[in-house]
């Protein structure tokens, strides 16, 4: 019985959300507000159960890790935004978070993107065959794309042509990525329609 009610609610809300394809309407509004409200509430509980309690309260109370008072302090001063006289205090937390993010981003980008990307471009050119042509395209595509993202000079002459070829490579890559992702989205749609026809309407078995 519980499952049946659940299926009816899920099917109803699916149709309410899909009704947005026609136009904004009270059914969509209801589903939207329900969804936003439930998820906002869910994240409050999630933050408490998976962040504040296990990462702050438990280690501090049970394991006496009092060093955690520092992040707790930075967290609490975020709440000073409610009091205009001392709301400037919240900027400390924001500054710390932004600075830390930017700093970590530098090493992360070097290790995760720049060096592996350069290394992946060092490809063997073994002779006149398809693999060599493919590898040549990789090198040429990377170089011209880098020219497109060169900002310190006006794009004239060689830079202009290099940049044009670079954006062509980018657009070809985008086209492939677009097609690939659309395919994945279609499979999600199929999954939803299958749910409606199978679990709800029982038309499909």
């Amino acid at each position: 019985m519980g499952t049946t009610i659940g299926i009816w609610i899920a099917a109803g809300l699916t149709l309410f959300i899909y009704s947005f394809l026609y136009k904004d309407n009270p059914f969509y509004k209801f589903a939207e507000h329900l969804y936003v409200g439930i998820t906002a509430g869910y994240w409050i509980i999630y933050t408490w159960a998976y962040v504040i309690q296990p990462m702050l309260l438990d280690p501090m109370i049970k394991n006496k890790q009092f060093i955690l008072i520092i992040p707790a302090f930075f967290g609490i001063i975020m709440l000073t935004r409610w009091f205009p006289q001392i709301s400037w205090l919240s900027r400390w937390s924001i500054a710390f978070t932004v600075g830390m993010g930017a700093g970590l981003g530098v090493t992360g980008a070097i290790q995760g993107f720049i060096l592996p990307q350069v290394q992946a471009t060092l490809v063997p050119l073994t002779g006149f065959n398809f693999e060599t042509f493919n590898n040549f395209l990789i090198v040429f595509g990377v170089l011209t794309t880098l020219i497109y993202f060169y900002f310190s000079k006006e794009q004239k002459g060689v830079l202009r042509w290099g940049s044009k070829i670079g954006i062509t490579f980018i657009m070809v890559a985008f086209g492939a990525s677009f097609g690939y992702t659309v395919m994945a989205r279609i499979s999600l749609l199929i999954g939803r329609i299958y749910f409606l026809l199978s679990d709800w309407l029982k038309v499909l078995r």
Partner: protein, 429 residues
């Protein structure tokens, strides 16, 4: 009496046979399935401690056999590291984790033993081996309930320790030093007053056009920062562009809506918009409720922003920040209400959707450059110039690799092969 004695004998014989069938154990000391049957262990290099790597190299014919690894500490406590690993996996790591932080203690001596078997290891046999009384110090062949288990000799004592440096990341340190040097050089250059050039970014003129159009139509502007956190670089770039857009909004005396995914991003956006309105001389127009929190659920956020778009009907929609699967949902809704849309993100998988559904798109780093172009601060211009120099360096590196590759593999010249491999290894992280 005789009858009773006979019955007792029969009962005893039956009991012994049953007992021996269930728990029969035959041990053949020092017998091995092949020469060099052993496992080895070592401290995991370049780690923070609390980890030992156990390796084995058995003949390929045993690839489908199972290996169970046991550990004994210096106090004689036995425990199971891993059971029934496929021999073909060649190694296993015994590491401390968040759940079990004292599993492997630095400075403690550990001894490891492997049990090779064709079938999965018998639990009773395993319990017998690790029991304190038996231990598993004897290597050889154990036949337990007709199943054969080959037990290796104990490894030498292995001690886990933390490394001061992760030597595998030397290329990262060198790159970091190089990048820092180049950045500091250009920042000093910018400070000294040298004028640095940045080319015009396509689509930026549209910012003013979009805000102006919205104002003329009497519609608000919507600025969506995506689902990134304030620690994400695209979100930071999005906030810089938000500053410029807000200033224009204040100058045109119109309204800006910033629905936010993350509370910290919302707070930062409030600060940015407030400052921009103050700079434009219109702090009175600032309304912090226009920069609101929606939810931290990806599609909940998308549904909320879509609904808001349909109701508020903004004349211009800015999508600047970090976007994932919700990108097309947002961009398509913006398109359907006829808003002029300017998007920008570094997420390559989402950029195609923005290119398809928006009027202007800032691709990847263009977004960062756009924020610099709009502010034209000498320090930020310095950082763009430094980045460009590093790009030239990378291009040179790729061209060198390309030329080396031609000589190494095209013309088969040994010295170039060595140089090519050296370059590839130097970039390995």
């Amino acid at each position: 009496m005789l009858k009773r004695t006979l019955l007792l004998i029969v009962f005893l014989i039956l009991s012994i046979s049953l007992f021996s069938e269930n728990d029969s154990l035959i041990f053949l000391e020092n017998q091995t399935p092949f020469e060099g049957f052993a496992i080895t262990g070592k401290d995991i290099p370049n780690d923070g401690g609390g980890g030992i790597e156990i390796e084995w190299s058995f003949p390929d014919s045993l690839d489908n056999f199972f290996l169970t690894v046991l550990r004994k500490d210096e106090a004689g406590n036995n425990s199971i590291v891993a059971t029934d690993l496929l021999v073909s996996s060649k190694q296993v790591r015994d590491v401390s984790s968040e759940e079990d932080p004292s599993r492997v203690k630095d400075g403690t001596k550990y001894y490891y033993t492997g049990i090779l078997s064709k079938k999965m290891v018998d639990e009773d046999f395993l319990n017998m081996l690790i029991s304190k009384e038996n231990g598993y110090s004897k290597n050889g062949i154990y036949i337990f309930n007709n199943d054969t288990f080959y037990v290796t000799a104990e490894t030498d004592a292995i001690i886990s320790k933390a490394s001061w440096f992760n030597l595998s990341r030397i290329p990262v340190v060198i790159s970091l030093i190089l990048i820092s040097f180049v950045f500091l050089y250009y920042l000093n250059l910018a400070k000294s007053g040298k004028e640095l050039y940045i080319r015009k970014i396509n689509g930026l003129d549209a910012v003013e056009e979009a805000v102006g159009r919205s104002t003329e139509m009497g519609k608000p502007i919507m600025y969506i920062l995506g689902i990134g956190y304030v620690t994400d670089i695209p979100t930071i770039a999005g906030l810089t562009i938000l500053s410029r857009v807000s200033k224009k909004v204040a100058e045109y005396e119109t309204k800006i809506l910033v629905p936010s995914y993350d509370p910290v991003v919302m707070t930062t956006a409030q600060e940015v918009v407030k400052e921009a309105f103050t700079e434009a001389g219109r702090p009175d127009l600032y309304n912090k409720n226009d920069i609101m929190y929606i939810t931290q659920d990806q599609f909940g956020y998308a549904a909320g922003v879509d609904g808001m778009m349909m109701r508020e009907k903004p004349g211009a929609v800015f999508l600047q920040g970090l976007f994932f699967a919700e990108s097309l949902i947002l961009a398509e809704t913006g398109h359907s209400i006829g808003a002029i849309q300017i998007s920008g993100t570094t997420e390559t998988a989402q950029l195609p959707f923005f290119v398809a559904a928006c009027d202007y798109t800032l691709i990847g780093e263009e977004m960062m450059a756009a924020s610099v172009y709009l502010q034209k601060e000498p320090m930020m211009l310095g950082s763009i110039a430094a980045e460009d120099l590093l790009k030239v360096f990378i291009m040179v590196l790729i061209i060198v690799g390309f030329v080396l590759s031609i000589f190494a593999y095209g013309f088969n010249i040994g010295i170039f092969k060595n140089l090519f491999d050296l370059l590839a290894r130097a970039l390995q992280v």
